[in-house]
C-alpha cells in the first residue's frame, strides 16, 4: 500500500499526469476498451466466462498450422533481412563513398511504403511476364511462378525490412571505437578472430534489436501476405481478417488476436530493452568511415556487390510497379490512360470512385496526423516527467499501440462499437481513430527520444529563471522537440495514407481510402482494373516517398532509430 501511495505521489509530483490526459482520451475508448472487449469476446463467447473458444483454438490443427506458418515465415524473413542487411551495414558504416547519405535514404524508402503497394510491386516483378521471369529466360531457365508461394512473401519482406537492419546496425557500427579492434590485433588476434571476438559481440545488441523489430513487422504481416500468398499461406493476421469479414468464429478470432498481441509485445520489449542499452552508446565516437581510396580490394568488391544488390532489390520492384502502371493493357509502348482514368472513374462500376478515395485518404491522413501530433507529444511529456516505479507502467500503457497489429485493432473495433449509442459501424470516425492510434507511437517515440536526451536540469533552469510550469513547456520543451514532433507527424501522415489492415475491416464505400480502392480493383477482372490499381499504387508510393524525403530533411542527423 505504501508503495502504491508513493508511486501515486511520484506521478502527481512530476506533474506528468496532466500531460497524460490527451492520451487517456484517445487510448481509453479506442484502444484499451476494444482490446478488453476483444479479450472478453474470447474468454466469454456467450457473455459468461468459458474456455470454449480457447479450447477450440488449442485443439484445432488449422490454427496451429497458421501459427506455425506465421512464426516460420517471420523467422525466415528476419534471418534473410539480417543476412542481406549485414554486409550493407558494413559498407554504409565503414566506407565513405560518394552518394552515401542519399543511398542510405533510398534504402529506407521501402520502409514507409504502404504494404499493398509493395505487394503489388512484387506481383508485377515476379508474376508471369514479369521482369524476373524475363531475366530467367535470358539465362535459359524455365519460367517460375513465385507469386502464391512463400518465396514471393519472403522477397517482399526482405525488401521491406532490410532498411531496418542497415540503419540500426550501421548506426552502431559507425560509432564503434576502432581502438578495441586495434588492441585485439596487437594482442595477436587475426582479422577473422578480431571480427568474431570483438566486433560481432559489440554489434550483437544492434543485430538482435533490428531482428526483434523485423520479426514484429513480419509476424503481423497482412497486406503482403493477403496479395502475394496462396492457399494455406495465411498469417494469423490474415486469418483474423478472413474470420472477421465472414463474421464467423469471432471468439476464436479474438483468441488469435491475443496470441498476436502477446508475440508482438514480447518482441517489442526485447527491442526496447536493447535500444535503451544502445542509446547510451550512440554518438559517442565520431563517424569512423574511411574514404574510398583507403579501402582494400575485397572491400571495394563488397561495396560494388552491395550497391548492385540493393539496386536490384529496391529499384526493381518499384520500377516494375511504375512500368506496369504505364503499360498494362496498352496497345502502344506506354500509356497514361490508367492515370487519366482515375479522374474519369465515377465509381459506378466499382466499389469507389478513385478521386473520392484520394479525398478520404487525405482527410484521414491530415486528421490522424493532427491527433497523433497532439496526443503523441503530450504522452511523451507524460512519460518523460513521470518518476519512480510507476514510470514503467505509464510507459507501457502509453506505448501499447505500437504493439497492436492493425487488423487486431480493426477487429477490436468491430466487436466493440456495435450496439447501443456507441454503435459506430459504418462511421468514418472509427477509421480516423484507428489511423490516429497507429500514427501516434511515431510521434511519441520521436519526441520521447529527444526529451530523454535532454539535460534533466533544463526545466529546472527555466523555472528558476521565472518560467511557470506552462511556460517551461512553451519556451523550452516545445521548441526543442518541435522538429521531432514534425518528423513523427509526417510519419503518421504517411502511415495513415498507406494504412490497410485496420481500414480493411472498417471499410465502407462511403469513405473508402486509396488502399481500399486498390485492393478492390485488384479483386476485379480485366486490365483496366489492374491498371487502376497500379496507377493508384504509383501515386500512393510517390506521395509517401515524398513524405519520407521530407522527414529525412527535417530529422536530426544523429537520430538513427525507427
Amino acid at each position: 500500500m505504501r508503495r502504491v501511495m508513493r508511486a501515486a505521489a511520484g506521478v502527481m509530483a512530476g506533474g506528468g499526469w496532466r500531460w497524460g490526459l490527451p492520451a487517456l482520451l484517445l487510448l481509453a475508448p479506442f484502444l484499451w476498451w476494444p482490446l478488453g472487449a476483444m479479450l472478453w469476446r474470447g474468454i466469454a463467447p456467450d457473455g459468461a466466462p468459458s474456455s470454449e473458444a480457447l479450447r477450440a483454438v488449442l485443439t484445432d490443427g488449422f490454427y496451429w498450422g497458421r501459427l506455425g506458418f506465421t512464426l516460420g515465415q517471420a523467422l525466415a524473413s528476419t534471418a534473410l533481412a539480417l543476412l542481406v542487411g549485414f554486409p550493407a551495414a558494413y559498407v554504409f558504416a565503414l566506407i565513405r563513398f560518394p552518394g552515401r547519405g542519399l543511398l542510405l535514404a533510398v534504402v529506407t524508402v521501402p520502409f514507409v511504403l504502404p504494404t499493398l503497394v509493395v505487394a503489388l510491386a512484387f506481383q508485377q516483378l515476379l508474376g508471369p511476364g514479369g521482369w524476373f521471369n524475363d531475366a530467367l529466360g535470358l539465362a535459359g531457365l524455365g519460367p517460375v511462378q513465385p507469386v502464391g508461394t512463400i518465396w514471393a512473401i519472403l522477397a517482399a519482406h526482405v525488401f521491406y525490412n532490410v532498411s531496418i537492419v542497415v540503419r540500426i546496425v550501421s548506426g552502431v557500427w559507425a560509432n564503434l571505437d576502432p581502438r578495441a579492434e586495434e588492441a585485439a590485433r596487437l594482442l595477436g588476434a587475426g582479422r577473422w578472430r578480431t571480427f568474431t571476438a570483438v566486433v560481432l559481440p559489440a554489434l550483437a545488441p544492434a543485430l538482435l534489436s533490428a531482428g526483434a523489430l523485423v520479426f514484429t513487422f513480419t509476424f503481423t504481416s497482412f497486406g503482403v501476405v493477403l496479395v502475394l500468398g496462396g492457399p494455406g499461406l495465411d498469417t494469423l493476421e490474415v486469418t483474423i481478417y478472413r474470420l472477421a469479414t465472414r463474421l464467423v468464429n469471432l471468439p476464436e478470432a479474438a483468441i488469435l488476436g491475443f496470441v498476436q498481441l502477446a508475440a508482438t509485445l514480447a518482441a517489442l520489449v526485447v527491442y526496447a530493452t536493447l535500444q535503451r542499452r544502445l542509446g547510451t552508446r550512440l554518438g559517442l565516437r565520431p563517424d569512423r568511415a574511411r574514404p574510398l581510396g583507403t579501402t582494400s580490394r575485397p572491400e571495394r568488391a563488397l561495396l560494388v556487390a552491395v550497391l548492385l544488390g540493393l539496386a536490384l532489390l529496391i529499384v526493381a520492384p518499384i520500377a516494375a510497379l511504375v512500368h506496369g502502371a504505364l503499360t498494362v493493357g496498352a496497345s502502344a509502348a506506354v500509356t497514361g490512360r490508367h492515370f487519366t482514368a482515375i479522374f474519369e472513374d465515377t465509381g459506378r462500376l466499382s466499389f469507389v470512385a478513385p478521386l473520392d478515395a484520394i479525398r478520404w485518404s487525405l482527410t484521414f491522413a491530415v486528421g490522424a496526423m493532427a491527433i497523433a501530433m497532439l496526443v503523441g507529444a503530450a504522452a511523451a511529456m507524460a512519460i518523460a516527467h513521470t518518476r519512480g516505479g510507476i514510470a514503467t507502467v505509464v510507459d507501457g500503457l502509453l506505448m501499447l499501440p505500437l504493439a497492436v497489429p492493425a487488423v487486431v485493432l480493426g477487429f477490436g473495433y468491430l466487436v466493440t462499437f456495435n450496439r447501443g449509442w456507441y454503435d459506430l459501424r459504418g462511421s468514418p470516425w472509427l477509421v480516423l481513430a484507428a489511423h490516429a492510434l497507429i500514427g501516434y507511437p511515431f510521434v511519441l517515440r520521436a519526441v520521447l527520444a529527444v526529451l530523454r536526451s535532454l539535460d534533466p536540469s533544463l526545466p529546472d533552469a527555466a523555472r528558476v529563471l521565472g518560467a511557470s510550469p506552462w511556460r517551461v513547456w512553451r519556451a523550452v520543451e516545445l521548441p526543442i522537440t518541435a522538429r521531432a514532433t514534425l518528423v513523427g507527424a509526417i510519419f503518421a501522415f504517411a502511415v495513415s495514407l498507406g494504412e490497410f489492415g485496420a481500414t480493411s475491416l472498417l471499410r465502407r464505400r462511403e469513405f473508402a481510402t486509396v488502399p481500399i480502392a486498390i485492393f478492390d480493383a485488384l479483386g476485379r477482372p480485366g486490365p483496366a482494373n489492374l491498371g487502376k490499381a497500379l496507377a493508384l499504387s504509383t501515386i500512393l508510393m510517390a506521395v509517401t516517398a515524398l513524405a519520407f524525403l521530407l522527414i529525412e530533411r527535417v530529422r536530426f542527423r544523429e537520430v538513427r532509430e525507427f
Partner: protein
C-alpha cells in the same frame, strides 16, 4: 540584494537517504558564502531547496527575513547556475541570457540593454549569436552566469561553478569568477567540494558533511579556528597527535607528546592538529619541536629549500626543511615544529587513544551515521551555528617557555626533547 537564512532545513529521499538534516546557516546581504563538503553531503540539495526546486521535510528558507517556502521556484527571485550549466541548446547566447527577462516580461528595449550589459560584463559581447555547441567550456560557463544574473536575483546560487573544467582552466577562471562576483554585490552561495574554490571565492564558509552543517562563519575564522577535528581535516589541517592526556600532555606512542593548553589539561584525551603550511622539520636534539617526531620517507627539493614527506605515526605529512643542512636521509627521524599559536587542540572521549586506527578513521573514512568515531567528532553544538571550539595554544609568539615536567615514561627515545609548542627559530 538579499539576506539569506536557512533554518533547520531537512530533506530525506524515499530510499531512506538523508540528504539534509537540520541544516542552518545565514548569509548576510551582499556576501559570498561557500558551502564546502565532500560530494553527497547535501550541498546541492540545499541549493535546490533554497531555489524552490524541491520541498524540505522541515525547516525554513528566508530571504530578507521573509519565508519564501510557499513561493514556487519561478517566483522566488533566486538565480541559479547549474553544475552542468543547463544552457538551452535551442537558443543562442542572447536567447539564453534574455530568457529570464522574457519570463518576467521585461519590455524589449530594457531586455536588450540588460543583455548587452551582462555580455559586456562577462566578456561575450562578440558572441551574441553563437549557439551553445559553438562555445568553449569557459564561454559556456560565462553564458550560464550571465543568464543567472540577468533577472537581478536577490540571491545567486552557484553549483560547483568550476566543477566541469580541467585543473589549469579552473585556476584562471576561479580568479575571474571571484573578480566578477566581487563587482556584483549580490548575495551568493557557492557550492564546491574543493577547498581552493572556497578560499578564493568566498567571504564566509559553511562546512558540511552528511547533510549537516559542521561549522559556519567568516572564511578566515573558520580556516584559523576549525571547531572540530572533522572541520580541521576538511579545511586542510593534519593530525599531529591523538591520545590520552597524561601530566598535561597528549601522549601517542611512536609519535611523541604534545603539551596541552591549561584549559585542556583535565580532558581524559585530546587531539592536536596543525596546518602543514605552519610546520617545519627540525633536527633532533635541538629541543625546537612541538614534541612530535616523524620518520622521513623522502625529501625533495622545492626551490632553494627542501620538502620532507614525513610519516607521523602512520600518517603522511608534508613539512618544509628550511635549514642550511642537507635534508635528513630517508628513515631517519625529525622533530616537527609548528609556527607559534597555530596548534589546534580538541577534547576527545577517553577511549580515543585505545583504538589504534582511530586517528586514521577520524580523518579518512567516509562518515557513517551512528559510527562512534563520528559521534565524537560531532558535538551537538557543532551541528548548528558557528561554534568555535578551538583553544588557542596559550603561548605568545616567539617566547620560549620553561620545559614542561620531564616525561615519566623513560622508555621513550632518549634523544627526544620535551614538548614545546610555538618554539621555532626565526627564519631569515
Amino acid at each position: 540584494m538579499g539576506r539569506l537564512e536557512v533554518r533547520g532545513l531537512s530533506r530525506s529521499y524515499p530510499d531512506e537517504i538523508v540528504a539534509l538534516a537540520d541544516a542552518s546557516f545565514a548569509v548576510a546581504d551582499g556576501r559570498i558564502a561557500a558551502l564546502l563538503g565532500p560530494s553527497g553531503c547535501g550541498k546541492t540539495t540545499a541549493l535546490r531547496l533554497i531555489a524552490g526546486l524541491d520541498r524540505p521535510d522541515a525547516g525554513d528558507v528566508r530571504i530578507d527575513d521573509q519565508s519564501v517556502l510557499r513561493m514556487p521556484a519561478h517566483r522566488r527571485g533566486v538565480g541559479m547556475m547549474f553544475q552542468e550549466l543547463a544552457l538551452f541548446p535551442h537558443l543562442d547566447v542572447r536567447g539564453n541570457v534574455a530568457f529570464g527577462l522574457r519570463m518576467k516580461r521585461w519590455p524589449r528595449r530594457d531586455r536588450d540593454r540588460r543583455v548587452a550589459e551582462l555580455l559586456e560584463l562577462v566578456g561575450l559581447a562578440d558572441k551574441v549569436r553563437r549557439r551553445m555547441h559553438e562555445l568553449s567550456g569557459g564561454e559556456r560557463q560565462r553564458v550560464a552566469l550571465a543568464r543567472a544574473l540577468a533577472p537581478q536575483p536577490a540571491v545567486l546560487l552557484l553549483d560547483e561553478p568550476l566543477g566541469a573544467l580541467d585543473e589549469q582552466r579552473k585556476q584562471s577562471l576561479r580568479v575571474e569568477l571571484r573578480d566578477l562576483l566581487r563587482r556584483l554585490e549580490t548575495t551568493v552561495v557557492v557550492v564546491s567540494h574543493d577547498l581552493r574554490d572556497a578560499i578564493v571565492l568566498a567571504d564566509d564558509l559553511v562546512v558540511m558533511e552528511a547533510g549537516r552543517v559542521l561549522q559556519s562563519g567568516p572564511l578566515a575564522r573558520v580556516l584559523a579556528e576549525p571547531g572540530s577535528p572533522r572541520v580541521a581535516a576538511m579545511v586542510g589541517y593534519v593530525l599531529l597527535a591523538r591520545g590520552p592526556v597524561r601530566d598535561g600532555a597528549i601522549v601517542e606512542p611512536d609519535v611523541g607528546r604534545v603539551a596541552v593548553p591549561e584549559g585542556r589539561a583535565g580532558d581524559p584525551a585530546a587531539s592536536v592538529f596543525a596546518h602543514p603550511e605552519t610546520l617545519l622539520g627540525v633536527p633532533t636534539g635541538l629541543r625546537l619541536g612541538c614534541g612530535v617526531t616523524g620518520v622521513v620517507m623522502r625529501s625533495r627539493p622545492s626551490g632553494p629549500m627542501h620538502m620532507l614527506d614525513v610519516a607521523i605515526g602512520r600518517r603522511p605529512v608534508e613539512v618544509r626543511w628550511e635549514w642550511d643542512l642537507q635534508p635528513p636521509a630517508p628513515a631517519s627521524t625529525v622533530e616537527i615544529a609548528a609556527r607559534p599559536g597555530t596548534l589546534r587542540f580538541f577534547g576527545e572521549a577517553a577511549d580515543a587513544a585505545e583504538d589504534a586506527g582511530g586517528a586514521e578513521a577520524l580523518l579518512h573514512e567516509p562518515p557513517v551515521a551512528g559510527k562512534p568515531a563520528q559521534r565524537r567528532a560531532l558535538p551537538a553544538e557543532a551541528t548548528g551555528r558557528a561554534q568555535v571550539l578551538a583553544v588557542r595554544a596559550m603561548v605568545p609568539p616567539g617566547t620560549h617557555r620553561a620545559p614542561p615536567p620531564a616525561m615519566p615514561d623513560e622508555s621513550q627515545d632518549p634523544g627526544r626533547s620535551p614538548a614545546r609548542h610555538g618554539a621555532m627559530p626565526p627564519i631569515d
